[in-house]
């Protein structure tokens, strides 16, 4: 039964959130509270914090994110293929070969263009 399966998942989410929040509640009751302004300061190894946390970051984070999204999408085609290609024989294998070769060209292109280099 499909919906029963997912009922379990839903209940796990709810119960998990409650049980994870429970210790936070206990802390709220037990813990001392002494509001000192120094306590709520941003931690910067003991130095008085300066400037914004939002520094400019490297564009490479985006490039890796992009390549990840593209290949993650490729993976969604691999999952259904993986469980049925046995029944469909040679044809299915060749189809996936074409699919993967096209994507490997993409990986090779990114590699060649230096999108996979961090330095």
């Amino acid at each position: 039964m499909l919906l029963v399966d997912w009922l379990y998942v839903g209940i796990f989410v709810i119960v998990g959130a409650i049980m994870a929040a429970l210790p936070l509640g206990i802390v709220w009751v037990l813990s001392p509270r002494l509001a000192l302004p120094q306590k709520r300061m941003t931690y910067e190894s003991g130095v008085v914090p300066f400037g914004q946390a939002w520094a400019q970051f490297n564009v490479r984070y985006y490039l890796f994110g992009l390549i990840f999204v593209i290949f993650d999408v490729e993976v969604i085609y691999l999952y259904p293929w993986a469980i049925v290609f046995r029944q469909l024989g040679k044809f299915a294998f060749v189809e996936m070969l074409i699919f993967l070769v096209i994507l490997m060209i993409g990986l090779a292109y990114a590699w060649r263009k230096g999108a996979l280099e961090w330095a």
């Binding site: 564009v59 985006y62 992009l66 999204v69 593209i70 993650d72 999408v73 969604i76 085609y77």
Partner: protein, 103 residues
């Protein structure tokens, strides 16, 4: 009243119009892209709902939902690349300030 096709369609219309609203009124290009993602999600709800209630045996609705997810990922990738390029060259990502092509 059991949950039927119309219920899902109404939810998807509301989601679509929220996305449209974000697209029409936001200044931040990334927020516009978020609106587009909402609209694509609404379209996907439609596809899957029609698949279940109108033609369950064919599964083409779900297959096309997967294709739409693929296109959404590509759109996000290229769209955000454009945002990055605009930010690099014009130092803004607010679409009403990007007007170098305006006559």
């Amino acid at each position: 009243m059991p949950v039927g096709l119309t219920h899902y369609l109404v939810v998807s219309v509301l989601l679509f119009c929220l996305g449209l609203y974000a697209m029409l009124t936001r200044r931040n290009a990334v927020a516009i892209l978020m609106g587009i993602e909402l609209m694509l999600n609404a379209a996907n709800i439609n596809l899957v709902a029609f698949n279940k209630f109108v033609a369950p045996a064919a599964l083409s609705g779900q297959v096309f939902a997967l294709v739409v997810i693929t296109l959404a990922a590509c759109e996000a990738g290229v769209g955000l690349a454009l945002v990055m390029a605009a930010y690099r060259n014009l130092e803004t990502i607010h679409v009403d300030e990007i007007n170098v092509m305006k006559w």
